[in-house]
Symmetry: C2
Subunit: 566 residues, 2 copies
């Protein structure tokens, strides 16, 4: 707990803290109130980000292409890796230095001691400055996200930029709150009857877990990785970031920014490190199973999530895995709005969002709507037509769908087409010659076909499932959440009793429940500072972005007592 003068007296860190303390205060209020708040504007507008920001961002991105991405003073074993490919045709040809696990741990250990010695305010100020600078690079990061994940530019900007930054700030805020809940000092004075009181001067200091590992994913490299990275960083841990081999660039840019801020403030930039690898030769398992890794944040499949949970030496693991998100339709007073809303939910980023619906449960006798009774077939056909309409225009379709990033997903779409009655076939968008830009597949299945619909079918694949009645529709959806996990759930109902049942069985199982969405807000979307992303209460993940449990065990309290008697 000795303090490194170079670190803690850093004028820069102090300045960062003073600059951003007010923002933190607003964030503290936001997580308490949970109404709408976002400090990082989601509009890719020159009026907000500066008239030249768009062009500069694009240029910064293109300038990186075809070159080796280098992090100054980062450990390296002299080898290179390269695995990224744009589904939109851009030639990336990027490569990254790799380092051995031993090099990474050694560098992290050395850097961490200094970081631990810094004050809470210094670390928080630095994290907020990193976010400030990342925000300024939102255009560059958006291009990096777009070309590594297949997101359209608009989505890559929002989800990969400001929304990811929101989630990072949220995590920093929760962590700051928890670190400062215990006072630095206390005078403990116990009455001792006729004797003089016993007095102890107590002090409490934050001690981190040590070294954190964040395992990134292929679809939302920044959004899903930032919360763990920043939560671990601000609580004084060194962080090793292991990007997905096909989506390194967005995190590499972010890490470069973080290392610059650290170095400028007088800290060892190796407080944050990057572990790059190649598909098929991942370093992930090696890192996960090391005793020196004390915290793990993971986003990815349940299968590998289970491996991580079973093989990590540390018990401190925060996961977002996968689930099968249900929609239940029991009635609506806005049939057209409902169909349009669901069509958008199924189409957005071609179902590659962890929040996208997969299973749509509908009573086989149909439902009552503002347009009168609709049969099961009416509803299915209307949903199909809503998607056809939404994606009828090529430019709009491309902007909504983005591209399929993983060849396995294209294969899955083809495989699934044989596993039910095809309501809507998936096909490449007209007029553009890109087999990775495809429309959603919709299948009609029976509830007894649970071999197919009770499994996550990642991608633009959905199942319309006929149930005996509304009650059973909700019950089946609830059972699927408890058994296989879900991040979101959606219910359409005219009758209060179905909403109540859904609250108990869907929200109660830990899926974020949206009721009667028929406008611009989608079940897929969650907002930082208001919605908890993943509840941690079902198999879709064990942690929530972000809540107290996400941060409170990333550090511990060291306590010291000394007699304070005069």
């Amino acid at each position: 707990m000795s303090q490194s003068p170079n670190a803690t007296n850093s004028k820069k860190a102090e300045t960062y803290w003073q600059t951003h303390a007010q923002l933190l205060k607003q964030a503290q209020q936001a997580i308490e109130e949970r109404s709408y708040w976002s400090p990082y504007p989601e509009m890719p507008s020159g009026k907000i980000y500066g008239e030249t920001a768009k062009e500069e961002g694009e240029k910064a991105f293109t300038d990186r292409l075809g070159a080796c991405f280098t992090l100054a003073n980062h450990p390296s074993n002299g080898e290179m890796t390269s695995d990224e490919a744009s589904p939109f045709g851009a030639t990336l040809n990027l490569s990254y230095h790799t380092a051995t696990e031993t090099q990474l741990i050694a560098a992290a250990k050395q850097a961490q001691a200094q970081w631990q010695a810094a004050s809470i305010e210094a670390r928080t100020g630095i994290c907020l400055e990193i976010l400030h600078r990342i925000n300024k690079q939102s255009f560059q990061i958006a291009h990096a996200v777009m070309h590594t994940t297949g997101q359209s530019f608009a989505m890559a900007f929002q989800a990969g930029g400001p929304h990811a930054q929101d989630r990072a700030l949220e995590a920093v805020t929760y962590a700051y709150n928890e670190m400062t809940r215990t006072p630095a000092n206390a005078l403990w004075e116990k009455p001792m009857g006729k004797q003089p009181p016993a007095k102890l001067a107590k002090s409490y200091k934050i001690i981190p877990r040590g070294i954190a590992l964040t395992i990134g994913c292929a679809t939302f490299p920044t959004w899903n990785a930032y919360p763990g990275i920043f939560a671990s960083l601000v609580t004084a841990n060194a962080v090793i970031v292991k990007p997905h081999p096909t989506a390194i660039l967005p995190l590499a840019i972010s890490i470069a920014i973080a290392r610059n801020v650290l170095a400028e403030a007088g800290f060892d930039p190796n407080i944050i490190l990057m572990a790059c690898d190649k598909k098929g030769a991942e370093i992930t398992k090696t890192l996960v199973a090391m005793a020196d890794i004390n915290l793990i944040d993971y986003t990815g499949s349940n299968r590998f999530g289970q491996w991580v949970r079973e093989n990590a030496k540390t018990p401190h693991i925060y996961t977002e895995e996968a689930g099968i998100n249900p929609i239940v339709i029991t009635g609506t007073d806005n049939f057209k709005g409902m169909c349009g809303n669901i069509a958008m939910s199924l189409s957005l980023y071609a179902g590659q969002m962890c929040t996208a619906p997969q299973n749509i449960f509908i009573p086989r006798d149909g439902i009552d709507t503002d347009e009168g009774h609709k049969s099961f077939t009416d509803i299915a056909e209307s949903l199909k037509k809503a998607i056809d309409g939404l994606l009828g225009d090529t430019a709009r379709a491309t902007a909504i769908l983005g591209a399929i990033i993983n060849p396995d997903t294209l294969k899955r779409i083809a495989d699934c087409a044989n596993k039910g009655k095809v309501l809507r076939a998936s096909k490449p968008v007209a007029d553009i010659d890109n087999p990775q830009i495809v429309t959603p597949l919709m299948l009609l299945v029976e509830k007894s076909d649970d071999k197919i619909w009770m499994t996550e079918q990642f991608g633009p694949i959905s199942f319309i499932i006929a149930t005996d009645n509304a009650e059973q529709a909700i019950a089946l959806a609830g059972a699927s959440i408890r058994e296989k996990g879900a991040i979101t759930a959606s219910i359409y109902a005219n009758e209060e009793k179905w909403l109540t049942q859904a609250e108990t069985e869907l929200a109660g199982a830990g899926a974020l429940l949206s009721c009667n969405l028929a406008g611009p807000i989608l079940v897929n979307q969650t907002a930082a500072f208001s919605d908890y992303h993943v509840s941690g209460a079902n198999p879709a993940g064990n942690a929530s972005l972000a809540d107290t449990a996400f941060v409170a065990n990333r550090f511990r309290i060291a306590a010291i007592r000394k007699p304070a008697n005069p």
Copy 2:
């Protein structure tokens, strides 16, 4: 999330909440300030507890002896168990109903749904009322603790009564704070440019993990079990309490009180259940490995702790295991006070406290003191003499030492006597014919004898270890904490540099560090609302009594969003 009217409208629960809300407010302030505070008086005084409380408590205890302890409406398989024996000669002859794991889980599941439907205030009010009534029974519980654990009456009253109640209230307070950090409702209103704002009405509800298991220990049955029991209970989980087979009564009395309060308030008493078993035929492993157990609190050995951590289906495990607590002596300005303080720490409850020191590291060249230079031998002899003096009087010795509760501990004392140079032999206290009331064994060993001192030797066994110098003494103590765990550590020093090194290496390794204790406060003692008991940062346990991390993952948030557009 539907609400049971009988439960949530319970007038009693509302009254309890109103009665005790002010106490909770004080507790909230106390955990923020961490100065001295205790709502449950630790003096077994008639002036505080009522003139007849002492006799009534003793009578209530003796009235229970020789009988079957029955919990009304508790599941039972018709069998009985009995394994308690007083080391002070009282004939207990108590027996308890047992139940199968299936019966326990079924009863807990049924009761839990109703408990979940109650409001946060109703659950909190009930928990506070339970503690209020437990406090009134402190004398009865003290006798129960004394005769099952071997603690002297004075200690059994304090540690088994008010201090345990303090720790329970502390856990309730942390949990209440966390449950109420999220508002019940929020209006989310997002600007949509030229479109009208998107409005969502959001609601957030507490959903518990489900069923909690608390595994009690043999030495501090209430103190160590209450925090987990109350933290799980107030966060809406049903709780199965598995007392140690030799220390059932103190928890049985507590559980009976809790069930009465629940039943009176209109709840199913099976919200809290007791799983009794017999030594050698424990039900613990079966329960731990059940998928229906969603939270586990465990106090006990590292060996069984490891088994729990490896075999539990739930990842939500809170343990206090064991460590080897060091004392480092590098100098003192109060040699006599230091020796007296250490003598008391080693003697109290015959070293059967998890906070008792085991290893005393002293530079072989001696130290500087207010009485001049003291050689290694001087110090060792002075510590021996301090213990001899402290325990020279039979009545005082008995009051301090209590009795050894586990025959294995007596065997360990005998075994260890051959494993070093005996500085002070352990022997039965003079003038009383009780082989379970014995004085501490002290051994002189070399630092190279780490096979013996680097292992926990539970009981009144300590090692005085000669080191090359002060720096090495601290370094060895620090290494022992990191490798084997420690709950407490103690340093005596005249020079600031040794205090600083101890802060880094002992407190920094997660042992609660006490500096230069020479008065009535012992390193063994931790105070609720001020000291964190166990840091969770070394092998002595993964959780802290109590902090945010101890409570925040015992429940999750269910969230619901509905359009709020006009």
